[in-house]
Every structure is written in C-alpha cells, then in structure tokens.
Symmetry: none
Subunit: 415 residues, 2 copies
C-alpha cells in the first residue's frame, strides 16, 4: 500500500507555518510499513484540493489530509472530499452533542460557524477530537481511502494514534519499532564517541544519536514481522547502551520528561524539595509541579529575582550581596542555606545568574549561572556558563539544576 | 507568475527530517509577489521526480527544487532536470576550481563522487555555494524556469538570498507584505465573528484568522508595487481591526509575547507586581522574568503548591483551607491579600486550581482554576475551567492570569 499526505492551508504556502504534520505522519506510516509516495501542500481552495486528491489517488491507495477542518469559510477539506466521493453531509448526532458539551463547559453558546464541523456523510467513520472542536473522518470508496485530520498538531497527533493507526496497520508491510534512550550531561559527539562500537556495528537494530533541545537521545530502530520480533531485537542493544552510559542516561522513552524521573525519585525515596530561583524565575518549580504527584514532595518555591526578596525570604545578608554581588557563589550558598532553613526540606535547589541580554561583564559574562544544591546538611555550588539568548540560558540553567538534583539523589550525596 | 517548490529526499518521506526549506522559500516568494501554488516532496527517484516536475510546470511557471545535489548516487536532481530539459552536462571550470580549492584547504584529495557536482549544462546559470561542495543552478527553457538548490538550509538560504532572489524579483507581482494583530480572551470563531465584515470584504488587503497555541491572530496581507504601497494598504485595515477588537487586541507583530506587553506596561506606569502560584507553580513568574527589564517591577514570587506554604508564606488561614478547600474563591482571595501584604506590590496575581489528571470532583472538575488579582487595595477572583491535559490547563491558566494583569493595568481598575 502506498500513501500520500496532503496538507491543506494557504498559511503553509505563504510560509507562515512549517508543515511538521507531514513529518509526524510520514514517520508513523513508515513504522507500520506503509510507504509515503509523496507529500503535498495545497491552499484553501476547493478546485486545487480536488486536483491534488485526484492526482494522489491515481498514484496511491491512501490519502491523509491535515488541516481545513476549522469553523471558518475557508476551511473546506471535508466538504471537498465529500464532493470528490459524491457523499452527502448530514448532522452527526454524537459529534453535535460533544460540541454542545464543550461550549457548555466553557459557558458559551455554540456559534453558527462551529456547527458545520459536526456534519459528516453517513458512510464515513467519524473520529472524535478530545482536544478541539473539529472531528476527523475516514472515507472509503472504490478501494481508495481518504483520512481527514485537523491541522493543529495537538489535535492531529492523538487522533492519528488513537484511531487511524490501528485502522491502517493491517494494510502495512511489517512493523518497524524504535526505542529511545535519553542522555544528560554529555554533548552529542561525546555521547556518540562513547557508543561508537555499538553504533558502527548496528544493522538491525540500527542506533543513531540526535541532539534534542534539552538533551541527547539515541534511537534504536529494528524491523520485524511483528512488533514483538522488532522489540526483542532492540532489547539487548538498549541494555548495552544503558550500561555504557551509566548515570548520564537519565531515562528511556520517546517523551519521558526529566521532571517525571525526578518526581519518581523524590516520591520513592520519601524526600522533600524546595526551590529558590533568581534568573530561572520559577522555571524549576514549574517543571517539578508538572509532575502530578509532586504535592507530597514539593514544599515551597520562591522566586527571588530582586535583592530585597533574597534578603526577606531567604535571609541572604546585605553584606554578601554588596561584597560579592547577587550573582556569586557566596550568594548562591546563602540562598540554599536560607531556603533549607525556611522550609526544612531534604533538598534545596537555587539559581542566581545573568540571563542577558544586558548585565554581563568580563568577569561575570552573560550566561553565567550559579546553581546551589543543599542536600541533607551539605551545600555545593556549581558555576556554569551557558550559551544562547535569555530564554535559552534560563532553559539550560533549569535543566542543569534539575539534573544536579537527579544525580544528588541517585548517589545519595552532593556530587 | 506562479511557483512550486519541490523538495527531493527520501529522508523527508520517511519523516526523518522536517521540510523547513519549503517554509523559507514560500515566505521569500510571497514577499516578492510570486504565489506558491503547491509544495511537494518526492523521493530520490528519477522517474518520480520527472513526473513531479512535469506536473508542476504544467500548472506553474517556476519550479524551485531543494536537495539531491550531493555527491552520492541517489543525488540526482540536476541530472533529472537536464534529462527533462534535454540538456547535456559538461565540466563547469569555475566550479571545478572552487571544488579543488575546498579539498586542498581541508588537506584532502577530491573524490570521484564529488566531481559530478561540478558538471552543468552550458546554458544553465551556475550558482556558487560558499558553504558546501554543491553549486546550484538556474535553468530556463520554453518560458519555464527551474531553480535547483542544495538541501542543507545553511547552504540553501544564502544561495537563494544572494543569487536567486534578485533573479526572480522582476517576475513577481509587486511586493506582498503582511502584518499581524494578536488577540486574547476571545476564541477564533468569536473573534472572526466580530470582524466578519472586514474579513468578508477584504480583497487587498485580505484578513485571515489563525488560532495559535496561546492566542488568536489576524493576518492582514496586502500586495503593492513596492513595500510601502503594501504597508499603506494594510494600515487603515489594521487600525479598523484594532478598534473593533478594543482591549481584546493585546499586541501587534509576528513574535510579540504577552510578557513583553505586560513588562512594558508595568515599567511605563511605574507599577510593581508579585505572584503566588499553586497550580501554575512558577509559570507566571517565569514568563514575567523573561522580560529583561523586569527587575524594576517584579518584587517577589511564591510557589505555594502545598497548604503549608500557603499558610506560612501567604498567611492563608487553616480554617479557610479546611472549610472551602485549597481550590476555592476564598483561598484565592486570602492568597492575594497575604501576598500583597507581604511584598507591598501594586499588583498581586495568584492562582489555585486542579490541573489534573487526578483530583477532580463533580463540583470542582479538573481544569478548574481560581485566578485572584489584587490591584491597589481591591481584590477580584475569577473562576475558570480550562480544557486539556495538566500542561495545557497550567498553560492556559498562566496566559489567562497574565491577561487579567494586562486588562487590570490598562483599565486602571479590577475588571
């Protein structure tokens, strides 16, 4: 079976957005052994979309569209597919009721324009959209399949994964699986060097490193006649990689987040944590609180961006601030000490730094961040200089601080 | 003149990389008044590429390809275009000498496979590549144009900007400019409804709404014989839109962030702010601190996720917590009051809610968030229910809370 992916949206042809949906779907289709013959992007125009669908279905068996399911007049993917397949639209009761309840929950009236989103032909399979107001659908006619999905990735992806994937698997040619091992504290080239032997000798599975925004991942990919065969091939290679990486490997999994790893560690070991943030300004706390069960462990966070707050809430001395400056090892140390006294937590993590763009000097450049860790009576301050703009410096400081927490807990010691 | 962009590369069809080149070129072409009729991606396969080029040139005047100019056997874009246009390849002296010097500098011998990169037909315009070994080229025949560019963005972009753009400008239909107006507090359909007349009557400029992750934007796009003419056409429409939207329009601009708007407001009016966050757990503070000059205005943030912290740091009464619960109007009110007492700021913003996935009841569902605003002695608590997963609920609560701050300052009153 061959498939084509058609993105519908003038905003893509204008270059206003990148078509990341095509990548997601291509990868997914490859993973179930369905080859993508072509990707296309067409504007919000019925004649052009019909032309594109017609061409694609002459070459391929399956067309997946993304976009054009919204409430406005230029959203016309569904209407166009119905016209192409000569199917009549009628009110789809279940979707209508869902739409009503969404608007009711928000305390609003359903608008006229949203109503068109719940019309579908009787012989289409309607796909519920728990993340938006536009359901998707699967159409079949003359041995050809058209799947229409919404444009926003956060609506499109779960709809594909929860409904479309299992519908398409029987049409694919074997299964390709991949697993991911995640690394912190090592750059891509260092990590890859460490695993050189494994990477070079890999055929099935193959192993490839990728530098992500926050970490480095190794993707282990195998193909098998079914999912289990592929996974059995991956397993020993994954274990070998994890052993070679040691503590630098912090997690497995496509979407595992650092805060989940730390949340699990804190809860399992019965430890409590507090935060006091200057340059990261709430980002560390915010990440920890993303972990749903964190209330057991997270005692309190302070955002002490101003000197006054550092004095008032953490008891940093005016003298220290004057002599060494707010961005200094001494201030970081007093922040960590003051915070642990205030909350009594087992672990305290604090940051103070120069996120930029201004404020840097030769001695204390933009990107300089002191990260202080208090753990069971001991304190250690790490000095780091991060590259990037304000947001990047703050992000890297947040990740590094959280990773220090992880390493401290795992080794039951200030590292 | 109409153009199409064809990316050549099996790795794109496998989903291994995102086709960001198409976005860059689309935006560039739009800016010189060349409409992109379609974007396509095809694999490294001569027959399929010929098919795609042939189809595209039947619809459009210009085809720009990216990728397939490398040294390996499956790089065949140039060879395919020459076959299509029936042109003979011969050694291109200048490119050959450049190639020699690149390899000489690296202390290496030119490989056999790199040599194929410096063969071009006599009547093509060869485009030097200072960032790689693959020159690009412009082909013209029968009033049709094909431009071939390398795949890596850092080679493709300068080649387009330095050579191709000025070649294409005379073929464009004047210059197209667009501006963006940003909206908060109204969904896409409501906002579009409000501007229905302007949207429906728009020809040049056109007005189109887009739902973004955090807000809704209206893009106003006009074409003129030059940039100024286009901007002059946009201006009155933009003003009309801003007037109709009133306070719901919070900013103009492609990348303007809410925290920039609020930071400017706080600084300009000489106001100070503090935050106390339960479910948003530092996200509001973190956004505010993203504004580089915020130290003048931001007094202190508290992350009071636990009841103990709400009592200790904000002075919320145990009795209130017991009687009404941590997620209640009463608690939000006491948080706002306690915070403003503690820091003495002009504005205090607090959140307490149920971000999920657990913890919801019928009366207090997941997504329920109380947002409390203290402003110059007055307090108001807003009750909101947000859809989505934990991260989305927290994000929406953060945006909404920041928007309440914005509205409060603008109206100099609790709204």
């Amino acid at each position: 079976m061959k498939a084509e992916i058609i993105a519908v949206g003038t905003e893509i042809l204008l270059g206003d957005i990148v078509n990341t949906n095509a990548q997601f779907l291509s990868k997914e289709l490859a993973s179930i052994g369905i080859g993508v013959y072509r990707q296309e992007v067409v504007g919000d125009n019925q004649a052009r979309l019909i032309e594109a669908i017609d061409e694609a279905l002459k070459r391929s068996d399956i067309v997946i569209t993304t976009g054009g399911l919204g409430p406005t007049g230029d959203d016309l993917t569904k209407e166009t597919v119905c016209k192409y397949f000569e199917m009549e639209l009628e009110l789809h009761k279940e979707s209508y009721e869902t739409l009503l309840s969404i608007f009711k929950r928000a305390g609003k009236e359903v608008t006229e324009s949203n109503l068109k989103q719940v019309y579908f032909p009787r012989n289409a399979k309607v796909l519920a959209n728990p993340n938006g107001t536009a359901p998707g659908a699967i159409f079949e006619k003359n041995n050809k399949i058209i799947v229409i999905l919404p444009g926003p990735p956060k609506e499109m992806k779960p709809m594909y994964l929860n409904h479309v994937k299992k519908f398409l698997i029987p049409m694919g040619n074997g299964i390709i699986k991949s697993e991911v091992v995640r690394v912190l504290g090592l750059g891509e080239s260092f990590a890859a060097e460490k695993l050189k032997d494994i990477i070079d000798s890999g055929v099935n599975p193959t192993v490839a490193p990728y530098a992500k925004e926050e970490d480095v991942i190794f993707r282990i990919t195998a193909s098998g006649k079914d999912g289990n065969e592929a996974l059995d091939l991956i397993k020993p290679v994954k274990e070998a990689i994890k052993e070679k990486l040691g503590i630098d490997c912090y997690a497995e999994g496509e979407n595992t987040k650092l805060e989940e790893v730390i949340g699990d560690l804190l809860i399992n070991k019965g430890l409590t944590i507090s935060t006091a943030e200057s340059c990261t300004g709430g980002m560390i706390a915010s990440r920890l609180i993303n972990y749903p069960g964190i209330s057991q462990a997270f005692l309190e966070g302070a955002v002490t961006y101003s000197n006054e707050a550092k004095v008032r809430t953490l008891g940093v001395s005016q003298d220290t601030l004057k002599r060494y400056g707010a961005v200094s090892e001494e201030t970081a140390k007093e922040m960590a000490l003051g915070l642990s006294k205030r909350t009594g937590s087992d672990i305290s993590i604090v940051t103070t730094g120069i996120a930029g763009p201004g404020g840097g000097t030769e001695e204390k450049p933009v990107g300089l961040v002191y990260i202080g860790v208090y753990y069971k009576g001991q304190i250690r301050v790490y000095r780091q200089v991060f590259n990037g703009n304000r947001e990047e410096v703050r992000n890297k400081a947040t990740i590094t601080a959280l990773d220090k927490v992880r390493r401290t807990i795992l080794q039951d010691n200030i590292v």
